[in-house]
């Protein structure tokens, strides 16, 4: 990889088998898998390795959510025989800890790149025809493929006057580095991001109002999951307003006034800040897509075939830019699969209907497959089996009795059409059902697997039994 004309600007620099634009989850996994398969690989990253997930997404929020969990736990600790008086919260400290966690993870990705002898090119990559990538004045050439994994970013709603100004109208990017919390906060959007920040800020003493345009919070989850969370949040003092439309926003220097409509009712909310948590925009601009003949879908994602190849042969797209669900673990899998395809293998197709969805609020919400409403829409003949954690010994012991496990069973063959868990550690428990669905186990195999006692996971076995009309502990 010598520089043939070292002094000439814009000269051809190096050849790789694969060049990946973006070092987020999809990109770095694609790089590692490519290197494992013996391909010489380069990753172009303009910021820190690990992308949104590691630096301003999944990882730091999990650190903050744990701080929030401890704060809430201490409020109840007296019941457990532990008196903690004078408990104070300091978001600045929690934030700094979360930054350290992010940095550790980003360094971890850097180490992985070195370990696999992957070249990391710092800068903004622009794809060019002929499987080339331009970074600054250097042009790199890929012998086999260029992989676009440029990810997504937060977005505001400028149409109603809510453009992100980073002071009173913020996004998760700013929320993650606040030194101090605002007195009051309106969160617009009650998907995973909105739900998690509502949980965090409420625990740190902020008066939180959570606004969702769709009729219920966590709109992509099962309606029963939404109900449990709405109830839990309201109990904690979070103002949850679903089915609400923001008609007008007046952004002041230190406050924001929102006019909202809920059905026929009109309301005005004033808060110190607004956190925009409604949707993300994909990073498809200024990366040379048009010049390479790479087309987008109607919704703005990069158009890909079933091998994740774009409309231009030799150019692939993975992760958020390749379409929903915009989840790191979906990007991971696409990254690995594309590397294998480029290396000439035939990996099993990705099952997009078997991607778990997790929201790490308290209680956690995790799901896989269809919701009960989707089963009804598809006119499937199903039976819902449900088991509440209030009837689970382990949950009673830890005082985490909120939530349930629900399994939607196909009536004829016992196929697990969908599964929904609300409760402590739901994010960890959902994988039993992910493995089951991946291997086409039916509810009976779930029941046949002996679940240790006492565990939260027993509720999964019981929900499976309930779907067969044989629940034991209720």
């Amino acid at each position: 990889m010598l520089r043939p004309y070292p002094n000439e600007p814009g000269s051809f620099v190096a050849n790789f088998d694969v060049i990946i634009l973006g070092g987020g989850p999809a990109g770095y996994i694609c790089a590692i898998r490519s290197a494992q398969l013996g391909l010489s690989t380069a990753v172009v990253e303009q910021d820190k390795l690990g992308g949104v997930c590691v630096n301003i997404g999944c990882i730091p929020t999990k650190a903050l959510l744990h701080s929030a969990y401890i704060a809430n736990l201490l409020k109840e600790s007296k019941d457990f025989g532990v008196e903690a008086s004078g408990v104070k919260t300091d978001y600045g400290v929690a934030m700094k800890r979360s930054r350290r966690v992010s940095d550790q993870n980003s360094k971890g990705v850097e180490f992985l790149m070195k370990k696999h002898k992957i070249t990391v090119i710092k800068g903004t990559g622009v794809a060019q025809p002929g499987k080339k990538v331009k970074v600054g004045s250097d042009v790199h050439e890929a012998k086999k493929a260029v992989v676009i994994a440029t990810g997504s970013r937060v977005k505001g709603i400028p149409q109603i006057g809510l453009e992100i100004n980073k002071t009173t109208v913020i996004s998760s990017d700013e929320a993650l580095v606040l030194e101090r919390v605002p007195d009051s906060l309106v969160i617009i959007g009650a998907g995973a991001v909105g739900m998690e920040f509502a949980d965090i800020f409420q625990a740190f003493g902020v008066k939180v109002t959570l606004i969702e345009a769709l009729p219920r919070i966590l709109p992509i989850e099962d309606a029963e999951s939404s109900d449990v969370l709405a109830k839990s949040y309201r109990k904690r003092g979070i103002d949850v307003i679903a089915g609400a439309k923001v008609t007008k926003a007046t952004v002041g220097k230190d406050k924001v006034t929102l006019d909202i409509e809920v059905g026929s009712e009109k309301k005005q909310i004033v808060a110190a800040a607004v956190l925009m948590a409604a949707g993300r925009a994909v990073n498809t601009e200024n990366i040379g897509l048009k010049e390479c003949g790479i087309q987008l879908t109607d919704r703005g994602f990069i158009k890909v075939d079933k091998n994740l190849q774009t409309t231009t042969p030799g150019y692939y797209a993975i992760g958020d830019v390749a379409g929903p669900p915009m989840l790191a673990h979906k990007g991971f899998r696409e990254g690995a699969v594309v590397a294998e395809i480029i290396a000439g293998q035939k990996p099993p197709p990705i099952k997009y209907d078997n991607v778990p969805s997790v929201t790490y609020c308290h209680p956690e919400v995790a799901s896989i497959g269809l919701t009960e409403d989707q089963c009804k829409e598809k006119k499937l003949d199903y039976v819902a089996g449900k088991f509440p954690f209030s009837a689970n010994g382990r949950a009673r012991g830890t005082g985490e009795t909120e939530g349930f496990v629900k399994i939607l069973r196909d009536k004829k063959y016992g196929e697990i059409l969908g599964a929904h868990i609300v409760g402590a550690h739901a994010s960890e428990m959902i994988h039993e059902l992910a493995v089951a669905r991946e291997n086409e186990y039916t509810v009976e195999e779930i029941d046949l697997a002996i679940h240790a006692h006492p565990t939260m996971s027993e509720a999964i076995g019981e929900a499976a039994l309930d779907s067969l009309g044989r629940v034991l502990h209720i």
Binding site: P348, Y413, G414, E415, N439, E440, Y441, T442, E445
Partner: protein, 408 residues
Amino acid sequence: MATKVHMEALSPTMEEGRLVKWTKHEGDPVKSGDTLAEVETDKAVMELVARADGQLLKVMVPEGTTVPVGNVVAWIGKPGEKVDGDGAAAPAPKSAPQPEQRAPVAVRSAPEITPADATRVKASPLAKRIAKDVGVDLKLVQGSGPGGRVIKRDLEGASATPAVATATAVPRTAYGAQRTPYEDVPLNQIRKTIAKRLAASIGPIPHFFLTTEIDMERAAEAREALNKQLGEEGGKISFNDIIIKAVALALVQHRACNAWFQEDHIRYWNEVHIGMAVAIEDGLITPVIRNADMKSLREIAAESRELAGRARNRRLKPEEYTGATFSVSNLGMFDIDQFTAVINPPEAGIVAIGSIVAKAVPDGDRVVVRRRLRLTMSCDHRVIDGATGAVFLKTLKQMLENPLAMLL
């Protein structure tokens, strides 16, 4: 010390043998020269005899398993004697699914050894349930899951098959309530030898040809009557349509000719899909009339006309010209009296139709003029033997000479 029983070369050309039946069982006393098992070689079923005295201590391969010559198949020794490696040392027996396997032997003193892949069907629990409900034999399904495991997706068409059959409300004469589209039968040793020898003799497909002359007088009358009845509404029935229908119905009765040669097994189809050779500008293509045995003449006529039209305009979809189980080629319109057609693999047969010509034929002690057709069947000898093809042709001839037989 216990003595090994090997698979012996029971014929000079034998490379492997299929253990058809154990005549002695574990625990039975045996004397040198006793018959231990029946083994199918490439030529015949032979006896495998004991070369030592004692007790049959252990049987290493279950019935129905094909074993290379030289492999250990059993142990003979003193009662209670330990056997080396207890099976672990024996090379893994080569086994294929054995639908024709005989019932397992009832009495066995020692614990049974079941080779991992002889009886086990790789399928997901969900696929097993669906298969049981629909009545699909999972051994016959090609799995697309990890390691060739049968998963739900592989069975998606399976439930549709019987549904189509009931929708058309035509009773399936020969195959009755069978729900699978076909059955895979592993090649037995004789069939393997035939396949190898004959393929070496003429190209990869050892063809042979059977010609018969068919009296088409009654078929012609029937055709005229039917077309008169259909009148001006179009959709005239051709001789080719009648022949396709007759071939399909004859195949229902002679499944042995409705098959694909698949290298290590023969796929006997329970469905009849007739490929119809159509000459196009720069070649030849064979659109397929699916389930031709279940379609009316009128349906076949309409479909063949439509497919042929699109074939000439090169507007056929791949699924419309693949998957035939047998073919019909007709050069009658070019005044060809008789010809031989080349088999379209993996199909095992094709009939070539000459032109229908008026001929003087003896009728008792008179001579009458009859419309006659010469039809030649090309057969893949690896699948169809002379007699098999001949009986099929006999049925086909009877149907065409007496079209009412098609109503049976």
